[in-house]
Symmetry: C2
Subunit: 158 residues, 2 copies
């Protein structure tokens, strides 16, 4: 049983704690909204899309399992299964690495590329409503820069 309900300067209202909660909340809400829209309009899960984007951005047009997992913050086991599903759906394929037989590359199929392009169009509209309508261009740049710093830190301490 709780008494002394709350006090506004309590330690749980500490700026840092609020910030972490807010970061989690906004990421979750945004992903939920964007994910629902993508699923509806393009028929693919946002998780698929994020993987395809990372591969597409890569120099060689392919990434190793570890690389995709790391970039999208998945465990290796989780990524194995996610890629399984994407292979089943026909969006990506596994490609053996010729120089290291432990490594497996993941590359987009033609269908995957097409899907990615179609989904991106719709996605951008959605993001305009979710991001651009609330944050100015400058703010978005600032936000991005701060998140990059944060992520670098989390990376280093991981």
């Amino acid at each position: 049983m709780a008494e002394q309900p709350n006090s506004c300067d309590s330690v749980i209202n500490d700026e840092r704690i609020v910030l972490l909660g807010l970061l989690a909340e906004s990421a979750a809400r945004l992903q939920r909204s964007a994910g629902e829209a993508m699923e509806e309009q393009s028929g693919i899960p946002l998780a698929f899309y994020e993987v395809m984007v990372r591969i597409r951005r890569s120099e060689a047009g392919r990434l190793t399992m570890s690389e995709v997992a790391n970039e999208t913050v998945y465990s290796s086991g989780g990524m194995t299964r996610l890629i399984d599903r994407m292979v089943d759906a026909g969006f990506v394929e596994r490609v053996d690495c010729p120089t290291d037989r432990r490594t497996v590359f993941v590359a987009l199929t033609d269908a995957g590329i097409a899907q990615l392009e179609q989904a991106t169009e719709v996605h951008l509209d959605q993001l305009d409503r979710l991001l651009s309508s609330r944050l100015s261009c400058d703010e978005r740049t600032q936000l991005r820069d701060m998140l990059v710093k944060l992520t670098a830190e989390a990376d280093a301490l991981a």
Copy 2:
């Protein structure tokens, strides 16, 4: 099979898409780091902590199931089970609402309050390493303000 590996001005490098990915990534990494530390040092999952914080911050020292679920971006079913576990662990208790027999309040137990306070201490140290070491006080304030705007938007469109 992918060709034309990437091009730096491609649409998938659009500022908005990058931003969403970054938001997801930084939230995930931060929660992972902070969650591991909390589990290790305080023995409780970060999800428990987040729920306890919301209840503690509330005016009345208690929230309905819906309120907790909404604030932490859970489904109602998911929250039912999360609270089940927290009740089992002895941190919270369900309290019937006297005026509406459909609603169920969730309140902290004494053990929950103690746990929350202990965990908060350790948590703050961790957050200093994860947040404060990389972002200045001003930046953190800016970040918070932008996330608030974003969340308000996601809310409205949900």
